[in-house]
């Protein structure tokens, strides 16, 4: 248990340090550095949506809305109310603020809508995402339909990577706790979960709020990376893109979500010159997955070092 944790932390730190060194020394050019930053950001988005959709089993399609809330409100803090704080304090503070606003919205919306099940919840959250987007289209203070300009470019790879590692760690630890097990039991059988003494509404809302919080943080990272917030950056299709990552990686598999986030972000960039074909390829991929591996690449399992040891054991047996 502790050994695994140690391996994970050293691995995460090593990857971060190496990539950051490569960026600073210019081996990785700024374009690729931005892609790596986006990969980390999408990893936050995919894992946080997985907590709602995959772990708790509540089908939400409103993630872009929470992302927008986080993005705009953190940008308001850094751009509109330029507080006299150094950047390294200002940025995390604004992200925290954006995340909290998104979490608060998640709480307010989650309480009534999480009574709905399946398709109905999907439609309600889809509507929510659009309401949030339209709200920003009409809000003059943040530039309305023209978008919010002049946001400082605080986001860089290191910030995003560190925040992603911490977000994922928090979500994973939550899932491993008894509270996380309560969420999983709701996914498995809501009626049985309630009979086991679990307040299902409370845990559904809790998963929704935590998921919304991290979506808000990712939104803040996005705003300070692109330096322009436009309502059209948070359309329904963004929610679908994040959902695609979760489904591809496997509903309920955090490592699957991370891998899918990295893969699909890379694919998007690779296909940038065929942008018309991109959505076709996405859709085809989704169809193929649903046909041949409906549980996603990893299903509900996690990618771990144990998998290797099992694999090698099997190979050893086969050799004998």
């Amino acid at each position: 248990m502790n050994k695994k944790k140690l391996i994970f932390i050293t691995g995460a730190v090593a990857v971060g340090v190496v990539v950051q060194l490569l960026i600073s020394s210019g081996v990785i050019n700024p374009y690729f550095a931005q892609i790596l930053t986006l990969m980390s950001m999408y990893a936050i988005l995919a894992t946080s949506l997985n907590l709602i959709n995959g772990i708790t089993g509540q089908f939400s399609l409103g993630h872009a809305g929470f992302m927008a809330l986080g993005g705009y409100f953190s940008a308001i803090l850094t751009t509109k109310l330029a507080l006299p704080l150094p950047n390294f304090l200002m940025f995390p503070l604004s992200l925290l603020f954006g995340g909290l606003v998104a979490a608060a919205a998640g709480f307010l919306v989650g309480l009534p809508t999480l009574r709905l099940r399946g398709d109905y919840l999907a439609i309600a959250t889809l509507g929510l995402g659009e309401i949030i987007r339209v709200m920003f289209v009409n809000w003059k203070y943040v530039g309305a339909a023209a978008g919010m300009k002049g946001i400082p470019g605080y986001t860089n790879f290191l910030w995003t990577y560190v925040i992603a590692v911490f977000s994922i760690l928090i979500i994973v630890n939550f899932i491993k706790s008894s509270h996380g097990r309560a969420c999983i039991s709701i996914r498995e059988d809501e009626i049985a979960a309630e009979t086991m003494g679990i307040n299902t509404t409370k845990y559904k809302v809790m998963a929704f709020v935590i998921g919304a919080f991290f979506a808000g943080v990712a939104g803040g990272i996005f705003g300070h990376l692109i330096r322009l917030l436009h309502p059209n950056s948070f359309t329904f299709m963004v929610s679908v893109e994040i959902l695609l990552m979760v489904v591809l990686g496997g509903l309920g598999s955090i490592t699957g979500s991370i891998a899918a986030a990295v893969f699909l972000t890379g694919l998007t960039e690779a296909l940038r010159q065929f942008s018309d074909l991109r959505m076709i390829i996405y859709s085809l991929m989704l169809i193929v997955i649903m046909l041949f591996r409906p549980q996603g690449l990893l299903g509900t399992r996690e990618f771990s070092l144990d998998m290797f040891s099992k694999f090698t054991k099997k190979a050893e047996k086969a050799e004998r």
């Binding site: 630890n173 939550f174 996380g180 039991s185 059988d189 309630e194 009979t195 086991m196 307040n199």
Partner: protein
């Protein structure tokens, strides 16, 4: 004093009265059967006792305290656990996780503690694991603790569901047709087990059952429900010879002498 008592419990669905004048009491440590033909309202009565349905009128008292209108999870926390007619395990989770979830209501650490994985978290998790395995051992399932519960054979799934219900630390256990789909040998073993559980865990058990031999042999008192009404109540001998019951439930086809 009765540990669980209902009086004048009524449940109507629109114009249909599913259960009416449902009066039962369970004394501490008793093993009570609730029988009746299909559609008599047995499961509806169970659902009222566990908070799934809110009674249209009447009262349910658990140790003298009314539990009408409380949510199912609150009633579970107060001490009523149940199993389901159609098994409702957490299919894609391991056997031990199924039981650990039932311990959740007693977990003291908060969300933040869980995320930070402090010593309290580690200690409590270790304790839950240990308790869950100990409980599985009683039900002879501990060697399968890391298997997915959907991969267990039918009889073991039934046992696991009972084990999981016991993990919520109930005072009253409601079993909804525990012998459904079991062969005579399995039913016999189950009978033994139910009696043993009652003594071991000092429980009060209410049992819905179709299998006459099980109810007659294991229960101390039996309620008979027909068309939503209690038509008879008494010890198995009385029920066996009660003409109303024979008419409503047992019918002519059951050879009573074979039972004796």
């Amino acid at each position: 004093m009765a540990i669980l008592e209902t009086s004048n419990l009524v449940k109507t669905f629109g114009g249909l009265t599913a259960v009416s004048k449902f009066d039962i009491y369970l004394n501490e440590g008793e093993l009570i059967g609730l029988i009746g033909p299909n559609g008599a309202g047995k499961t509806t009565a169970f659902n009222m006792l566990t908070g799934v349905y809110r009674p249209s009128s009447g009262s349910i008292k658990l140790m003298g305290e009314s539990i009408v209108g409380q949510k199912p999870y609150e009633i579970t926390q107060k001490g009523i656990a149940r199993t389901f007619q159609n098994i409702r395990l957490f299919k894609d989770l391991t056997v031990v996780d199924n039981v650990k979830i039932a311990y959740h209501q007693n977990v003291k650490y908060g969300v933040a503690t869980g995320i930070l994985q402090t010593k309290q978290y580690v200690d409590e998790e270790a304790e839950i694991q240990q308790k869950a395995v100990a409980l599985l051992k009683i039900f002879n399932l501990d060697h399968k603790k890391n298997e997915l519960s959907k991969n267990l054979p039918y009889g073991e799934q039934r046992r696991l569901e009972i084990a999981r219900a016991l993990a919520t630390n109930p005072k009253v256990l409601l079993l909804d047709e525990p012998a459904a789909g079991m062969n005579p040998q399995e039913t016999h073993d189950l009978m033994e087990m139910i009696r043993w559980i009652r003594d071991q865990f000092k429980l009060t058990i209410l049992l819905i059952e179709h299998d006459m031999s099980l109810v007659m042999n294991v229960c101390e008192r039996i309620y008979v429900l027909d068309y939503g009404k209690i038509i008879a109540h008494g010890c198995p001998e009385d029920i066996r010879t009660n003409p109303k019951v024979i008419e409503a439930y047992l019918g002519e086809e059951v050879d009573l002498s074979a039972e004796n």
